[in-house]
C-alpha cells in the first residue's frame, strides 16, 4: 500500500553515533552478567499506525489517539539485543495566503481571491511552508512503565513524548534510544497522539539503530579474557530500562538489578 511520503529535509545527516556504540569484540555487563558482543548489524523498522481513527488511506485525523500498543515483531531472539532510536517523520506546515495557520492543511491556491479594495497586489499569492509537524510519541518500556518523563508527571502534556522536533526521522536523537531484550514484557509499548490540529498523512514511527548478538561469558571466559589482556578487563555497562521508575524508588526496589 503506497503512502504519501513527504520525504526528508535536504539538510545534512549527522554522523550516526550508534554505529560505534557496540562493536564485535566488546564486552558488556547486562543485569550483572558479562556478555561478549559477537556480531553487530544495523537495523530499521517502521510502525505504521493504521488502526483506530483512520479515515481513508493511512492518514490520522486531528485528535487521533492510538492508545498504547506493541508490535510482537520487535522481540529479538534470546541471544540478541536491539538498540533502537524512535523518530517521527515531519509533515509540512503551512500558513495560508490569508495568514491563517490553524488546521489549514495544504490550502488550494487555485481558488479565486475576492479583493476588498480595488487595487491590491496579489501576484503569486500562495501558502508558505513554515515548518514540520508530527504526532507525539509516548513510550512505556518495559511494559507498563512510562519513560522519558519527569518523575512527578508521567504521561503529562509537558513531558514524556517525542515529536519531530526532538527526534526527526532523518536525524534520530540517540539520547532516546531504547534497548530491547528477548521476552514479551520487554517489548516497547508506544502511543501516538495527534495534537497538531492537522490531518497527518504519514503516521509512522521510525525505529532505527542496531542489533547485536551476545555470547554469555562464563567465569572461565572472563578470567581467560582478563589474562589475555594483561590483567585488565574492560566492559561497558548497559542499563536497558533507564532509571527506576517512581513507584519502585518509593519501594526501594530496582528492577534492573
Amino acid at each position: 500500500m503506497a503512502r504519501v511520503n513527504f520525504g526528508r529535509t535536504p539538510t545534512v545527516r549527522g554522523y550516526n553515533p550508534l554505529a560505534n556504540t557496540l562493536k564485535p569484540g566488546h564486552v558488556i555487563q547486562l543485569r550483572g552478567e558479562f556478555y561478549l558482543v559477537d556480531a553487530v548489524e544495523g537495523l530499521t523498522f517502521d510502525i505504521v499506525c493504521t488502526a483506530n481513527g483512520n479515515t481513508s488511506g493511512t492518514e490520522i485525523s486531528a485528535g487521533y489517539d492510538s492508545g498504547y500498543f506493541q508490535d510482537a515483531d520487535l522481540e529479538p531472539y534470546r541471544n540478541h539485543l536491539y538498540c533502537l532510536v524512535p523518530s517521527l517523520p515531519g509533515q509540512p506546515k503551512f500558513i495560508s495566503r490569508s495568514g491563517g495557520y490553524d488546521g489549514v492543511g495544504f490550502p488550494n491556491d487555485e481558488t479565486n481571491v475576492t479583493l476588498s479594495a480595488a487595487l491590491r497586489s496579489i501576484g503569486g499569492a500562495s501558502r508558505t511552508m513554515v515548518g514540520l509537524i508530527s504526532p507525539r510519541l509516548y513510550l512505556k518500556h518495559p511494559a507498563g512503565v512510562p519513560r522519558w518523563h519527569a518523575d512527578e508527571s508521567p504521561e503529562n502534556d509537558k513531558t514524556g513524548f517525542l515529536d519531530c522536533t526532538v527526534s526527526p526521522h532523518e536525524d534520530p536523537n540517540p539520547n532516546f534510544a531504547i534497548w530491547i531484550e528477548s521476552g514479551e514484557n520487554q517489548l516497547p509499548q508506544f502511543r501516538l497522539v495527534n495534537t497538531t490540529g492537522e490531518v497527518i498523512f504519514n503516521p509512522v514511527v521510525h525505529l532505527q539503530g542496531f542489533k547485536c548478538r551476545l555470547k554469555h561469558m562464563s567465569k572461565g571466559d572472563v578470567e581467560a579474557a582478563r589474562r589475555a589482556n594483561g590483567g585488565k578487563f574492560v566492559y561497558k555497562v548497559i542499563k536497558p530500562q533507564g532509571l527506576p521508575h517512581a513507584g519502585s524508588m518509593a519501594a526501594d526496589y530496582d528492577p534492573s538489578q
Partner: protein, 585 residues
C-alpha cells in the same frame, strides 16, 4: 596504489558517451555529512573468520549503481527507434489494465553495469509509453462543419467526432469546434476525446502539444496491450492522423535523441520508476540485482568495507493542495492552468496566453485574438511545476526529498538490517527496507555498512532490491557506495608467537563476516549451520563433546577465535576462484 603487485586493471577508459548521466537533480544544498571513518589502518591486525590478518594497504573507492527497471533491447530497435522489453518479474509490469508514461529526457543505460563492458546511454526525445499504444492527430487549419474524426479505443468503442460551429460536450459523440483558429480546434478535439460521457474519457488520454507550428494531439490508449493498436481516420483535409501503434504489454516504445549502437537483446536499465499509486495503488518491486564489481577479483585477500546511500527525489505539493503525485513536471503541453508568454522566436511578445488558448491578453489587459501566432511560449509567473501548478524550487511547494526503499540480501537470500522476526518477510515496513531517511546519498550511514570479501564462503556479494511504494515517480534511482578496500596478509603462527614473546600481548580489530549476524538462528541446541551441514561436514570423523559444544555455540568465527583460539569445527569451504568472475563466467 594497493601494493607493488597491483591487480587493478589499467585498461583504457570509457569514452564520455558511454558513461551514465550524472545525478539528475544534483545534490541537495548543505554540507556533506561526516565522512565514514577508515576503520583499519595499514599495519594494524584484524581478525576475520578465517583467522588473524595484517592490513598491508588501504585505498578509498566509490561506485554508483543505477537501480532502475531492467530490460533488454527489443526487436525493431534501430537508429532513434528504441523498443525495450521490460524483464522485471513483478506482476505490476505485466498488468493488462494499467500502464505508465516515461517523460522525455529519461535516460537508459545499455549494457551491463560495471566491469569494462561497452555501454551506451540513451535519452528519450519525447515521452514514451509502457505497454500502451500511441496515436496522433495534427491540426493544420480550421475544419469544415460535418467532417468526422473517428477514433477506436482498446475495448472497441468507436466514436466519430463531428466538426461543428460550436463545441458540444453534451452530445454522444461530442462535437468539436471547427472555427476560430487551429489551436482552438485542437483544444476542442482534446475536450471531446477526454469527455467521459460523449468521448473516450477513461479509455484514451488526449494531450495537446502547442509547441510546434501546428498543434499536435497525442492520444494514449490507457489499456495496455495490442488491442490498443487501432486505427484513427478522418475525412477532414486539415487534420492528419497517425493510427495507434506500439501497444504491447511489458514493452516500451520510444524515440531517442541518440542513435542506437548497441545490439538487440542487450541488457538495459531504464532510469525511471512510475509512481506507485498510478497502478491502482499497488507498488513496484524490482528484481534483486547485484553488481560483480563489488568484490575484488584479486587472488590475494582484499576486502571492500563500504557504506552506501540512496538517491533522493524532490517532493512537491501541488498548487491545488494535492500532496499525491504532484510530480516535478512543468509546463506540460497539456491544457493545465498555466500562463505563458511568447518567446522571441514566436509572435507578438507583449501578449500573455492563458491555458494555451488562442485568446490572449495584451499589455493593457485587453482581450486579443492572435491565433496566427506560433506557440513557442515561455512560462511566466506561476510556472508549471507540480500538479496543476507551480513551484518555486525551494519555496512554497517544495517539501522534502523522498526515495525508494532498498533492502540488501547478504549472503544471498538473507535479508540484512531486519528484525529477527521479519528477516524472511516481504513486509514493506519491517523487513529491512531502508530509505534515504536512514542512509541518504549525501551522507551514507555507517550503521548500514557492507563488507565483501571477508567471508569464509562464496556468497558475500550483496544483492539489492528496490521497492517503489511512494506516490511519486522517480528519476534515476541509484545507490552511491563509498568506502575503502583493504589488502590483507595472513599472520603466521610464528609471528603471533613472536608478538606475544616480545610484548606479552597483541591487539587487533574485528572485520565481521557479513553473513554471520543474520545467518545464525535462535535454536537452543541445534548446530550453528544446521544439522544437515554439521552431519555432512563430520561424516567419517569422530566428534568429541568439545566439538559438539563449539558447533552449537552460535557465535561467529571471530568470537570463536577470541575465546578459544580456533575457528568453528565445520569444514572450511573453498573460496571461489576470482578468475572465474573476472572472466565473466
Amino acid at each position: 596504489m594497493v601494493n607493488s603487485q597491483p591487480f587493478k586493471e589499467l585498461g583504457g577508459s570509457k569514452p564520455a558517451n558511454q558513461l551514465p548521466s550524472s545525478e539528475p537533480f544534483g545534490r541537495p544544498p548543505g554540507p556533506f555529512g561526516e565522512p565514514s571513518p577508515q576503520e583499519y589502518q595499514p599495519g594494524e591486525l584484524v581478525m576475520l573468520g578465517q583467522g588473524l590478518y595484517r592490513v598491508k594497504a588501504v585505498e578509498s573507492l566509490s561506485m554508483n549503481f543505477h537501480m532502475g527497471m531492467q530490460g533488454t533491447i527489443g526487436t525493431g530497435s534501430s537508429g532513434t527507434t528504441l523498443v525495450i522489453d521490460i524483464d522485471e518479474s513483478d506482476a505490476a509490469f505485466g498488468s493488462t489494465t494499467n500502464g505508465f508514461q516515461l517523460p522525455a529526457g529519461t535516460k537508459i543505460i545499455c549494457g551491463e553495469q560495471g566491469f569494462n563492458n561497452p555501454n551506451q546511454t540513451l535519452t528519450l526525445a519525447s515521452r514514451a509509453e509502457f505497454g500502451r499504444a500511441v496515436g496522433t492527430v495534427t491540426v493544420s487549419n480550421t475544419a469544415t462543419n460535418g467532417k468526422l474524426l473517428t477514433i477506436i479505443s482498446a475495448d472497441g468503442t468507436s466514436k466519430a467526432y463531428t466538426a461543428a460551429a460550436a463545441e458540444d460536450l453534451t452530445s454522444d459523440p461530442c462535437k468539436f469546434k471547427s472555427s476560430g483558429s487551429k489551436q482552438l480546434v485542437a483544444e476542442s478535439i482534446v475536450n471531446c476525446i477526454n469527455d467521459v460521457e460523449g468521448g473516450h474519457g477513461g479509455k484514451i488520454k488526449a494531450e495537446l502539444d502547442l509547441t510546434g507550428t501546428d498543434p499536435v494531439i497525442r492520444l494514449v490508449q490507457l489499456t495496455p496491450g495490442t488491442d490498443g493498436n487501432t486505427t484513427i481516420t478522418t475525412n477532414e483535409a486539415n487534420i492528419s492522423v497517425s493510427s495507434f501503434t506500439g501497444g504491447k504489454v511489458g514493452t516500451i516504445n520510444a524515440t531517442t535523441v541518440e542513435s542506437l549502437v548497441r545490439p538487440v537483446g542487450e541488457e538495459v536499465t531504464v532510469l525511471f520508476l512510475p509512481t506507485a499509486t498510478f497502478n491502482g495503488g499497488s507498488s513496484y518491486l524490482l528484481d534483486k540485482r547485484t553488481f560483480g564489481i563489488l568484490e575484488s577479483p584479486d587472488s590475494r585477500k582484499v576486502i571492500y568495507d563500504v557504506t552506501w546511500g540512496i538517491s533522493m527525489h524532490p517532493k512537491y505539493i501541488g498548487a491545488d493542495g494535492d500532496s499525491t503525485n504532484a510530480g516535478i513536471s512543468g509546463f506540460d503541453l497539456e491544457d493545465s492552468t498555466t500562463q505563458s508568454q511568447h518567446s522571441a522566436a514566436g509572435g507578438a511578445q507583449d501578449l500573455i496566453d492563458n491555458n494555451g488558448s488562442a485568446f490572449r491578453l495584451d499589455g493593457l489587459g485587453a482581450h486579443t485574438d492572435a491565433s496566427s501566432d506560433t506557440y513557442d511560449s515561455l512560462t511566466i509567473g506561476l510556472s508549471g511545476h507540480g500538479a496543476g501548478g507551480y513551484g518555486y524550487g525551494f519555496g512554497t511547494a517544495f517539501n522534502g526529498m523522498t526515495s525508494p526503499k532498498i533492502r540488501v540480501f547478504q549472503p544471498r537470500g538473507k535479508v540484512r538490517f531486519a528484525v529477527d522476526q521479519s528477516s524472511g518477510s516481504d513486509n514493506v515496513d519491517k523487513a529491512g527496507w531502508i530509505t534515504a531517511d536512514q542512509t541518504p546519498i549525501t551522507s551514507p550511514n555507517p550503521a548500514y555498512r557492507l563488507v565483501t570479501g571477508s567471508g569464509g564462503n562464496d556468497s558475500t556479494l550483496p544483492f539489492f532490491q528496490l521497492l517503489q511504494d511512494i506516490d511519486e515517480d522517480l528519476r534515476d534511482p541509484r545507490i552511491l557506495i563509498c568506502g575503502f578496500k583493504y589488502l590483507l596478509a595472513e599472520v603466521s603462527e610464528g609471528e603471533v608467537r613472536e608478538m606475544i614473546r616480545r610484548s606479552g600481548r597483541f591487539n587487533y580489530k574485528i572485520i565481521q563476516d557479513p553473513g554471520q549476524m543474520s545467518g545464525l538462528a535462535d535454536g537452543v541446541t541445534g548446530p550453528t549451520e544446521g544439522w544437515k551441514s554439521l552431519v555432512e561436514s563430520q561424516r567419517g570423523r569422530k566428534m568429541s563433546f568439545e566439538d559438539y559444544k563449539r558447533a552449537t555455540e552460535k557465535i561467529t568465527d571471530q568470537s570463536m577465535n577470541m575465546l578459544y583460539g580456533t575457528r568453528s569445527s565445520d569444514a572450511q569451504r573453498r573460496t571461489s576462484d576470482p578468475r572465474r568472475r573476472h572472466r565473466g563466467m
